[in-house]
């Protein structure tokens, strides 16, 4: 039994919410220039001052001057851009990519943004100041040459923090709700008063605390600007109802976040300003609201007891916040945009779970969070629910109802894995029990952690390519010069070579991350964010400088399934059954199994041959390179090459694959995952914390798969690698329970930065109460086996129609209807139509 009573009944959506949503999505998001201009203005005037003061002054300057707007119908206000879903730019982190993409950003396929000529001019003008002053430039100068080479060769991609702010944090919203910015300011003033000029840490600490005080004042001033705007708008407003709303908004903004929230409505407004302004201070994404249902509950409970708040109005306010979370936006470079497709800011908000004492604290608001996601049906917040053995059943059923809508939310998290995993990383049991999720899948304790949770994508397939090439890539020695595969006599020799390449690349990855880490500490410490994370104030330093209680760096590996299947295929076919040789594998991979070469592969091979000839003393000019290239293309298309490729593909197809509940294969996959997770945890970051692995690719498995050659699991060059810890697409042929059993056999405890397991369902699997019950049972059973995360895509009618049109994109789409499962695209047209009709009807069979 949990601590709280709760009501399960649905609450209706108001028309206001529909209007807010349609207003938000009326046009393409836009890039605005105000922030770039303002931060540059401020920086020009503070060159002689400590960096932390410069940051605070720039933040205040932005808050005092950035244009503000109250959108029609809003009850909770605060917008970082005039245009709905617009974004500001952050030249202090990097800027060159944006200028280079000015003319294509509106027409690119992933996450386009409109940008006016005037904005381009202003941003260009501002950018001029930043040459040589960005975090990315400083980070580069901290990296070893071999690290830069490895990055050029796509071994890993720390692009996220290399070019942007870090974000990926949950602050102490509860503290702001309780004492307000004035309370935090008072704390900083108190600590500052205790500082003595002779203290060893005086210089940094005093300036940090001063920066906090400046930031608090800036935030209060910003809220007051909104109060004035609300009053002015009210004065002109003819609609009496709206006028009253605006006056109430003005009152809220006068009080919060300066002071503690006096009621639920004020708490909503206070929360929102913090959530919004954290993102205006830095450009990071995944700034996650965390346990909203917990820190908001005291205000809700008090108002309900006093009879001053209806559940309906509380729901409407929450719905408003859900909409606002979609008003914030961020423009990424074209490549990253593909990796994080969908304008996603990954503001993860989680409901349910335990308190620090291990008691279930699911409450009314937990249910209303689910309801809000059902009402707005938008990608933000990235909504999650915590599941443990004591979770109320009705709560999970309600969550399953949300899954059934097909929005891809919520994600389900297993307390029974995550809590011990966090304890093993040094969190106290109490802190671990209070965890929330950052961004995609990364668990941590709010208000105490700088987790660097999304520190890089590490492609586990690339080191295997290096085993076959002895560390060469496009004619350059990128990895370790391991033994030629032709000379390997035992599988362990081969596997050890892979581990050696992995270890080497992991070391370089750490160098890249730590270089970027130092650059952020030196150039972009964040005083506002830091004043809401323990123990920054006491220690007198920002989170970027190591002020947080818990410090981690979490780069994520992906391609586990591909590597498990690849190494298992080599082990089986070469060393056990002797049906193929490593030389054959090498040739087949180099020729993409005779299925045609990608541009990258032709370039790579040409460069390799040219380098070899050069070493042998031959003159290699442009003409010679052209001849080599032609030969490469001809050879790869020879019938003998195609035949050999076919033969090998056939053999590989017969080798058992990860994802089918075959204990031996799954145990092997577990070991393969260790090649990434174990070496990584031995490394330390500059903030005094350790590295911890995640195993999830966001959506980067597609663009980064495009940079990956053919792999011994039969995967062709340039095609996507496996998604998260999920089996390779189409390789799991025994249904969702078998796939889940396999995935559960990986070690989810050591991948404490999170694992991601996606499953797809036809809506009929969730129809009726019974469908929901079975669905919840599936999650429970996977979690019983110590899986850590699960997320579901319910296939929509639109998807099926698209699959009819573009079957090649949906080769692995399985539909299960009437206890009958089939690969959708192999069905005849009329049967496909049948299934589409069933989807439409939501038929109970």
């Amino acid at each position: 039994m949990g601590l709280y009573q709760y009501e399960v009944a649905d609450i209706k959506k108001t028309e206001r919410i529909d209007r807010l949503v349609s207003h938000l999505f009326a046009r393409m998001p836009e890039i605005e220039s105000a922030r770039a201009r303002l931060i540059t203005e401020s920086y020009r005037t503070t060159e002689q001052e400590p960096v932390i003061i410069r940051r605070a002054k720039a933040f205040v300057h932005i808050l005092e001057h950035i244009p503000i707007i109250i959108r029609e119908d809003e009850l909770v206000v605060g917008s970082s851009t005039i245009a709905p879903r617009g974004c500001q730019t952050y030249p202090e982190f990097s800027y060159e990519w944006l200028e280079a993409e000015f003319d294509t950003v509106a027409t690119r396929s992933a996450d386009p943004f409109y940008i006016s000529e005037e904005a381009k001019r202003e941003i260009r003008e501002a950018d001029r100041y930043w040459k040589g002053k960005t975090t990315s430039e400083l980070a580069t100068s901290y990296m070893a040459p071999e690290t830069l080479t490895a990055m050029e060769h796509n071994m890993f991609t720390p692009g996220n923090y290399f070019y942007n702010g870090v974000g990926h944090v949950t602050v102490q919203y509860e503290k702001v709700l309780a004492v307000g910015m004035e309370g935090i300011r008072a704390e900083a003033e108190g600590l500052l008063a205790q500082c003595r000029a002779g203290d060893g840490d005086y210089a940094r600490k005093s300036r940090f605390l001063q920066a906090v005080i400046l930031s608090c004042n800036g935030v209060i001033a910003y809220a007051n600007r909104y109060a004035r705007l609300a009053e002015q708008t009210a004065e002109k407003c003819r609609d009496a109802d709206r006028k009253a709303e605006l006056m109430r908004i003005a009152g809220n903004c006068r009080r919060v976040p300066a002071k503690g929230a006096g009621n639920f409505y004020e708490a909503c407004q206070s929360f929102w300003f913090i959530q919004q302004l954290l993102q205006l201070e830095s450009s990071g994404h995944s700034i996650s609201p965390g346990r909203f249902d917990q820190y908001m509950y005291p205000y809700y409970e008090k108002d309900r007891k006093e009879g001053t708040l209806s559940r309906e109005f509380a729901q409407e306010l929450m719905d408003c916040i859900w909409v606002k979370l979609n008003d914030l936006n961020k423009c990424r470079d074209a490549v990253s945009a593909e990796g994080f497709a969908g304008y996603s800011l990954f503001q993860n908000l989680i409901a349910g779970g335990q308190n620090g004492d291990g008691v279930d604290v699911t409450n009314d608001l937990s249910f209303m969070c689910i309801q809000a996601s059902m009402h707005v049906r938008l990608p933000q917040p990235s909504f999650s629910v915590r599941v443990w053995n004591g979770s109320p059943h009705e709560f999970l059923i309600k969550a399953a109802e949300l899954t059934r809508t097909g929005v891809g939310l919520p994600a389900y998290y297993n307390d029974e894995v995550i809590i011990p995993a966090l304890v093993s990383r040094g969190l106290t049991l109490k802190d671990a029990r209070e965890y929330n999720i950052i961004g995609c899948v990364e668990p941590q304790k709010a208000g105490k952690t700088e987790g660097w949770h999304d520190a890089a994508f590490f492609n586990m397939c690339r080191p295997l390519e290096l085993v076959f090439s002895q560390g060469m890539d496009r004619g350059v020695q990128v990895g370790v010069k391991t033994k030629p595969v032709e000379e390997m006599r035992e599988f362990t020799e081969f596997y050890d070579a892979y581990k050696e390449q992995m270890n080497y690349m992991i070391g370089l990855l750490v160098n890249a991350d730590n270089a970027i880490d130092v650059a952020h500490a030196e150039r972009c410490p964040l005083p506002f964010l830091s004043c809401m994370v323990d123990d920054c104030m006491k220690r007198g330093k920002s989170v970027q400088e190591g002020g947080a209680v818990y410090n981690f760096t979490g780069p994520q590996g992906f391609g586990v399934a591909n590597m498990a299947d690849s190494l298992y295929a080599v082990k089986t076919l070469v060393f056990e059954e002797h049906k193929a040789t490593l030389r054959e594998f090498k040739e087949a991979l180099a020729t993409n199994y005779g299925k045609g070469l990608t541009k990258e592969m032709i370039g790579d091979m040409t460069a390799r041959i040219a380098a070899g000839l050069k070493e042998a003393g031959q003159e290699i000019g442009e003409k010679e390179v052209a001849v080599i290239m032609k030969t490469v293309m001809e050879v790869s298309e020879m019938p003998a090459v195609k035949e050999k490729g076919e033969r090998l593909l056939k053999l590989i197809a017969e080798v058992p694959k990860f994802g089918n509940d075959i204990p031996e294969v799954d145990a092997f996959a577990r070991d393969v995952a260790y090649t990434y997770t174990r070496p990584l945890q031995e490394y330390r970051n500059p903030r005094g914390g350790i590295f911890q692995a995640g195993l999830y690719p966001v959506s980067a498995n597609v663009p980064l798969g495009a940079q990956t050659g053919a792999t011994p699991d039969g995967r062709l060059a340039g095609t996507p690698v496996a998604d998260g810890v999920s089996p390779s697409a189409g390789k799991d042929v025994n249904g969702p329970t078998a796939a889940a059993n396999s995935v559960a056999r990986l070690d989810h405890f050591i991948a404490s930065n999170g694992t991601l397991f996606n499953q797809k369902f036809h809506p009929s699997a969730l129809s009726g109460r019974e469908g929901l019950e079975k669905f919840v049972a599936l999650i429970r059973a996977y979690f019983d086996q110590k899986g850590s995360h699960m997320q579901f895509n319910v296939v929509s009618r639109e998807t099926l129609l698209d699959a009819q049109k573009y079957p090649e994109k949906y080769k692995h789409l399985v539909v299960r209807v009437a206890g009958y499962s089939a690969l959708f695209t192999t069905l005849s047209r009329s049967l496909q139509d049948d299934i589409i009709n069933r989807t439409e009807q939501g038929f109970n069979y």
């Binding site: 329970t737 049972a777 049948d834 299934i835 038929f843 069979y845």
Partner: protein, 264 residues
């Protein structure tokens, strides 16, 4: 290991995560061989006992393999966590499981003895002593009744219905298993309200029936007829509409006084 776990039988598929055939999440074992030849059958490869070759998506596939109870149970065991959480278990389907009575009984017994719930989809088309010997190991009988008219039954399925209807009564009276009646709703065969009502009324008379399931005709098995080189005799008959199914559900409910649902 006990002997009965070494009994061999012939199956053509095992399907995990089955959620429309019995309670909870189940594993269905499809036994090969059937006494009927229903025109609408969505698993035509189930009908012959002989191992066959079928073309699936352009490739030849062997349908049918001989396995021991032990081997099947190894697969069934794999999803135990899901049965435990959902109240699911093993379902035998076919074909008609009663065509391989020793194997079917041994499978159900093996499941029961290791704490896994059991169900069986069957027409009840076998001498009653065969059925009786299975009942101690069966938690839930999902009994098909397709039509009350003997002649029409024979025309569309190849056999008359007397034995099955008689067995239905005996199974109900035995009180040894939960009993649900499943009615495939097949346009051109039994989709009039009157025909459904007759079956429903029979279900009421049986007593001890827990629920009636109306299973709407679907054409998902049609490609398999091509794959087996057989003619699909349902032609272009369309699945019943959702509205039609609702009407029939109401009719069945009225006539039986039992809870009815559309789907498994």
């Amino acid at each position: 290991m006990e002997d009965y776990r070494q009994i061999k039988g012939r199956i053509f598929d095992i399907q995990k995560f089955s959620i429309h055939d019995g309670d909870g999440i189940r594993t269905i074992v499809f036994l090969k061989g059937c006494v009927l030849r229903c025109r609408w059958c969505c698993n035509p490869e189930s009908q012959e006992y002989a191992i066959q070759s079928m073309t699936v998506a352009g490739e030849e596939k062997t349908v049918g393999r001989d396995v021991t109870v032990e081997e099947v149970m190894r697969t069934v065991e794999q999803d135990r966590p899901y049965y435990y959480r959902s109240g699911g278990g093993l379902t035998l389907s076919g074909g008609e499981s009663l065509c391989q009575p020793d194997f079917a009984r041994a499978l159900l017994r093996a499941a029961k003895e290791s704490g896994i719930g059991t169900a069986m989809e069957s027409m009840g088309c076998a001498p009653y002593d065969v059925i009786e010997s299975i009942l101690p190991y069966l938690d839930h009988y999902l009994l098909d009744i397709k039509h009350m008219d003997a002649a029409k039954h024979k025309e569309y399925t190849g056999r008359s219905n007397e034995l099955m209807l008689e067995n239905a009564g005996k199974i109900a009276r035995s009180g040894q298993t939960r009993l649900s009646i499943r009615i495939p709703v097949i346009p051109t065969f039994n989709d009039s309200a009157g025909e459904i009502r007759e079956i429903a009324a029979y279900a009421r008379k049986l007593g001890n029936v827990e629920k009636i399931h109306l299973l709407p005709y679907h054409r998902l098995g049609r490609d398999k007829y091509d794959g087996l080189g057989r003619e699909y005799r349902m032609g272009d008959v369309l699945p019943p509409t959702a509205e039609r199914m609702q009407e029939l559900k109401a009719a069945a409910e009225a006539a039986s006084g039992l809870p009815c649902r559309i789907g498994g």
